[in-house]
């Protein structure tokens, strides 16, 4: 995968990315931004839950979990992409 514009839900654990924009219906978009996922901030993808969803990220020094549906609303530029885990 080439570094470039993609959404947070597509990143493998271990990746690092910068938030470009947040979309979606207003209340959810507001909450994502309020939790610190603003454009420009750096996000580390920590892991997925054992059943594959939700996703856990580190943003502004704390741990946040969000469903893949919500992560898909966050466009990011990948800074470091971890290889897909070998199943």
């Amino acid at each position: 995968m080439l570094p470039g514009a993609l959404t947070l839900d597509r990143l493998e654990p271990g990746s690092k990315a910068q938030v470009l924009s947040v979309t979606g219906v207003l209340p959810i978009r507001r909450r994502l931004l309020e939790m610190g996922l603003c454009p420009g901030v750096t996000v580390d993808v920590i892991r997925r839950a054992p059943l594959g969803d939700p996703l856990e990220v580190r943003v502004r020094g704390y741990l946040l979990s969000l469903r893949l549906d919500q992560a898909a609303q966050v466009s990011v530029a990948a800074l470091a992409v971890a290889p897909a885990a070998v199943a």
């Binding site: 947040v22 219906v25 207003l26 209340p27 959810i28 978009r29 507001r30 909450r31 994502l32 931004l33 309020e34 939790m35 610190g36 603003c38 454009p39 901030v41 580390d44 920590i46 892991r47 839950a49 054992p50 059943l51 594959g52 969803d53 939700p54 856990e56 580190r58 502004r60 020094g61 704390y62 741990l63 946040l64 979990s65 969000l66 469903r67 549906d69 919500q70």
Partner: protein, 740 residues
């Protein structure tokens, strides 16, 4: 920066603690108020209102209000709504605080300062309590409180809530609370223009207020203080004229705040050698949310909880019951028979017993919940289970309430408060009573024991496998309840949700060692809530059901008739009987007559008559009036079914072992000689008990938690219709296949 003058000490009457969830606000509240606190409800909603008293160094006593944790003053849940409304002074029941204490987690400064950026705009005297500075220091990222105070323009007091460090300094600082200066937010040109346009349409407001108000209007906030302005045609015109996209304004506003925050954080936090991913929390998480180990540990924790709720609570529940009945015996033992004695013994004390019997289980459950919540594991449990539960329209946080409901739906439903999304919380409340609770166990035990036990299979090839058959039927009851819950939850997702996406955006807090004092306090306050709310209802209902079983009294001639029927043969005393043996034989006859009279009395009473009235309705399920009377009585609590049958079948004292009852029901026949009870009747009743809502206490709690009668009534009708339908199909189909 200029600051408004400090509040005069005598002017402070109420302070409010505001802060993010997990910032240690409640610990600080406890440290400030000690034991002088009380928990009530905000009128009309189910959010706890926690208030306490605190003595300032000058001897002045003030009220301290602990607000629900919130990430923002734009509310997403009823809890956040309350916090926002109290802080904005919008609640008539709660005066706006004289001083706001902003509790800030030093180890998570940036996100915590977001709320502070909004609190600043409330124009009230403020103090910042910089909590968890010990964690920040340990991470090598200490926060410079003096520098932060300079940046914010308000006193900043480092505290460690659970050790009480800094609490005295915080109390002294309250009198120096200042109204912080307003920061200037850097907004894009177009948005700043739009804000000015709308601000100009608000001439009634002080100049300084206009911009903030305009910004909130443009971002489509829904707080009550904006409604009047929005209704003003001039404002509406200005809003249309400004033509700003609400989402763009909202985002620009949040970005501007984080821009301001980032600048402050850069100046007040020492960029230490801290490497993210190396903290204790990270190491613990490597196990607790590990793809394989995580689920294993989760299963282990939940199994422990489940087993504890049954095994540890069970003897305690027995002790509670014994204590109440001992007390009842003490009070009524010396009384002569009569209505008052019966009211006290079978109404009042049985009612009290019915309430306290739940206490050990509920207290234990809340103890577990408090430990899981305080340690930070509850959020991980939600993280682990969300995938599974979101499939059927529930939430990761629904898991604990559902599991708790296997013990008792009441604490389970009370525990749904941790679910922020309304639809998912409602769905969880609606399906929780389908979980087979411990009150159903005595009924399952009686029916399975009587019809699938030794008496049934003795001498057949199945005899060695009785335990397997019985266990299998028991398991099937649990599975049937779970299936009903899953199907119902899925229905809720389709009809309630109407396609709305409910988000799961959950902070995974830093792990902490739970504070014993706080855990016990939480357990007690929740148990007390049960005792006062559900307890009152259960108690009152017990009295009503007692009256229904007691009145009208059997006329004397009928008592005589029953007595004579049981006295047709003379009492035979063998010639060689000792005097003791003779008394024994006479007593046996007397107690046989007593039981028969009690049974006749019950049939004659209101509940017995209702049993007869509903007989046509329950006949297709294979049940007769005696079972019907039991079902009516079981409305108070399901296990009452068993004791009610004991009375009807005149098997005397229920406290004796239950063998006589299962023999009695097997032996009961209709007038035509056909047995009343068959295995199919038992199975049909089991299906009914698994699915039916027969617990007024749960209905009362649902009313309280949903804030109205419509959902509890819907649930009552829905569950009972489903239960009736399923029991009907079971009996009709089953008796055709297996021949009754």
């Amino acid at each position: 920066m200029t600051s408004a003058p400090a509040a005069a000490p005598s002017a402070i009457r109420t302070i409010a603690l505001g802060g993010n969830p997990n910032c240690g606000k409640t610990t600080l509240f406890n440290a400030l108020t000690g034991l002088r606190q009380k928990v009530a409800n905000y009128p009309g909603i189910t959010v706890d209102k926690k208030t306490g008293r605190c003595t300032l160094p000058d001897g002045h006593v003030i009220n301290v209000l602990d607000l629900p944790g919130t990430y923002s003053l734009v509310a997403n849940s009823p809890d956040e709504q309350v916090a926002m409304e109290v802080l904005r002074g919008l609640r008539p029941d709660t005066p706006a605080p004289d001083v706001i204490v902003a509790v800030v987690d030093a180890s998570n400064l940036a996100r915590n300062l977001y709320l502070v950026s909004q609190l600043i705009e409330l124009r009230r005297p403020m103090v910042v309590a910089l909590n968890m500075s010990d964690i920040a220091n340990r991470r090598g990222q200490p926060v410079d409180a003096v520098a932060l105070a300079r940046e914010l323009g308000v006193p900043v007091i480092p505290v460690v809530g659970h050790r009480g460090d800094g609490v005295d300094a915080l109390k002294s600082a309250l009198t120096q609370a200042t109204v912080p200066a307003l920061p200037t937010w850097l907004l894009p040109e177009a948005i700043a223009t739009a804000i000015t346009t709308v601000g100009n349409a608000l001439p009634a407001l002080p100049h300084a207020e206009r911009e903030r108000f305009a910004r909130r209007l443009l971002a489509q906030e829904t707080a009550a203080d904006l409604a009047a302005a929005r209704a003003d045609p001039a404002v509406a015109a200005a809003l249309a004229n400004a033509a700003a996209d609400p989402a763009t304004v909202m985002q620009a506003d949040i970005e501007a705040r984080y821009h301001w925050i980032d600048a402050i954080v850069a100046r007040v936090v020492q960029p230490g050698a801290f490497k993210p991913g190396t903290t204790l929390t990270d190491r613990v998480d490597a196990v607790l949310v590990h793809p394989v180990l995580g689920l294993g540990v989760f299963g282990l924790i939940m199994a422990t909880l489940f087993v504890t709720l049954f095994l540890v609570a069970d003897p305690l529940m027995g002790m509670c019951e014994a204590a109440v009945s001992w007390l009842g015996e003490l009070v009524t033992g010396s009384m002569d028979g009569g209505t008052l004695k019966s009211l006290l013994a079978d109404g009042v004390f049985a009612g009290v017993g019915g309430v306290v019997v739940f206490v050990p289980q509920i207290a234990l459950l809340f103890l577990f919940l408090a430990i899981l919540e305080d340690s930070g594991y509850l959020a991980r449990a939600a993280f682990l289970m969300d995938r599974l539960l979101s499939k059927v329209g529930l939430h990761g946080r629904s898991f604990i309430p559902m599991l708790s409901s296997f013990a008792c739906a009441i604490p389970g439903i009370m525990a749904t408060r941790t679910i922020e999304s309304r639809n998912e919380r409602l769905a969880t409340i609606l399906v929780a009573p389908f979980m087979s609770c411990s009150a159903r166990l005595p009924v399952y035990g009686l029916l399975i024991g009587a019809f699938f036990g030794a008496a049934m299979f003795a001498g057949t090839p199945y005899e060695p496998y009785i335990w397997l058959i019985q266990g299998g039927i028991m398991l099937a009851c649990y599975v049937l309840g779970i299936l009903a819950a899953v199907v119902t939850a899925y229905g809720c997702k389709l009809f309630l949700g109407k396609g709305a996406v409910t988000p799961f955006i959950l902070e995974l807090p830093t792990y902490k060692l739970p504070q014993p004092g706080e855990v016990v306090r939480q357990m007690w306050s929740n148990t007390a809530k049960f005792l006062t709310k559900a307890g009152t209802i259960i108690f009152c209902l017990s009295i009503v059901l007692w009256a229904m079983a007691y009145f009208p009294r059997l006329p004397n001639e009928k008592i005589l008739e029953v007595t004579n029927r049981h006295n047709t043969t003379p009492v035979v005393i063998p010639a060689d009987a000792t005097p003791e043996r003779e008394t024994e034989i006479r007593n046996a006859r007397a107690s046989e007559i007593d039981s028969a009279v009690a049974g006749a009395q019950l049939e004659y009473s209101i509940s017995g008559r209702i049993g007869h009235v509903i007989e046509p309705v329950i006949a297709p399920l294979g049940s007769d009036w005696k079972i019907g009377g039991g079902l009516i009585a079981a409305l108070a609590a399901r296990e009452v079914f068993v004791s009610n049958l004991s009375v009807v079948y005149s098997v005397g004292n229920v406290e004796d072992d239950q063998t006589p009852l299962d023999e009695a029901i097997r032996a009961d026949t209709y007038d035509n000689g056909k047995p009343v009870w068959t295995p199919m009747v038992a199975v049909s009743l089991l299906v009914w008990f698994v699915l039916a809502m027969q617990c007024i206490s749960t209905t009362a709690i649902v009313r309280r938690e949903t804030g109205g009668w419509s959902w509890p009534l819907f649930q009552l009708v829905y569950m009972n219709v489903v239960a009736y339908g399923a029991a009907l199909i079971t009996f009709q189909v089953g008796s055709r296949i297996f021949g009754g």
